[in-house]
Symmetry: C2
Subunit: 241 residues, 2 copies
């Protein structure tokens, strides 16, 4: 007999948008684990705050590096690999004691999530992943317009890609979702302009959260500092009766 | 004073994967509206069955055509436009009597949903849209593998697109989601082969439902009849430590 690890998708931010199943698991959890940057409360922990039982034991997993080492440096992979192995050792120490652990995941765990690095290192039969509402679903809902109609092609892009790759995909798809905005915002704007899509783009931050703000990207000041929770949306214009 | 229309995303199928907010609205609804094909119970109605109060008044909205008229025929748009206008008249007759109406939407309402045709015709201030877990999130979760890592580019394609368009996008993206499978499955397979992606593809039907089945597409018999709830997934293989 061993315990179980639940990769719990928290959804986009509003605790009311978590699934009924995730809500039940989380509000009855004895052990709650989550990633965070050292010295910070952690985004996932903050989102789940209203749902974590007071008597649950918390297991923060603190990233040893975030932007201090460039991802191209071989040490980056080494340091992160060792970190994930250590996290898995902590989780399996709990499951060996027949304890279940809820691992908090922003958005949907299998969609650009960090949980996959633990999942890939855990015995498959000891893990259950709960899908969730993605941040992008909350973002296009916040724009008040459907993101895709009919046969629209939708492409999801990371703002960390180079400008030419961004431009090429921006031209090829009907609808676009661009994530990992942050310091990439000027590059994303430039690529959208080069692709002829800048005037259609919407900028959304804190989708589904109290600070939610959605506006045409062209209305956003050039020097705007995009927070962690920000997404750019270009709506498809497919067939509609 | 008028009532309100709620476009309620039901999620992928499992009633346990509906959001806490949608669950609350639906289980206390007095009026529930949903699309269906004439003579059928309706997919959305079936998914929501465990959650609809016994004393709620149900308002089926029956499509006048589905496949009887080709979408290229001008009459198709005419007939559908008149149908949506009639649905909106029924909903606004209820809101005029200060009644709220829950409109059932499979998946996420703003992601290839039919609700948008009502939304576009209703006064914006009388409608609230609840995002939900998409069918594709449940599908990639069912494969037991993350769909995207690192900077992967993900593209969503409708199986109704022509083979060349499918092939071009299948080659350009890292991760793929293909929806509207049905009778398009042979064409989708052919396009995946032409794009060199057939061996990576997974086929998922009834994701998150009791009949859930996920398998490599290459293991699926050539003459398999894909049900309404079926999705093809190709996982990205992006950077991972």
């Amino acid at each position: 007999m061993t315990g179980h690890v639940y990769g719990i998708g928290l959804g986009p931010g509003d605790p009311d948008l978590i699934s009924v199943k995730a809500h039940r698991l989380l509000t009855s959890a004895r052990h709650v684990a989550f990633f965070r940057k050292a010295g910070r409360p952690g985004q996932a922990r903050r989102l789940a705050d209203p749902l974590i039982p007071e008597d649950a034991t918390e297991h923060p997993m603190e990233y040893p590096v975030t932007t201090e080492i460039p991802v191209s440096d071989p040490r980056y992979n080494e340091v992160l690999s060792a970190f994930y192995a250590d996290c898995v050792a902590r989780l399996t120490a709990l499951t060996a004691m027949e304890e279940d652990v809820a691992v908090l995941c922003e958005g949907d765990p299998f969609f650009y999530g960090s949980f996959m690095h633990l999942y890939a290192r855990l015995p498959r039969e000891q893990v259950t992943v709960l899908p969730a509402i993605t941040g992008m679903s909350a973002a296009w809902t916040a724009t008040g317009q459907p993101v895709t109609w009919g046969d629209d092609v939708m492409t999801v892009l990371m703002g960390t890609l180079d400008a030419d790759t961004l431009k090429r995909h921006m031209q090829a798809a009907d609808a676009l979702v661009i994530m990992k905005i942050g310091r990439n915002l000027p590059k994303i704007r430039k690529a959208l302009r080069a692709a002829g899509r800048a005037d259609e783009a919407w900028y959304v931050e804190y989708a589904s959260m109290p600070e939610e703000n959605a506006q045409p990207l062209s209305d956003l000041p050039e020097d705007h500092v995009a927070p962690y929770f920000s997404i750019v949306i270009v709506h498809g214009q497919g067939r509609r009766p």
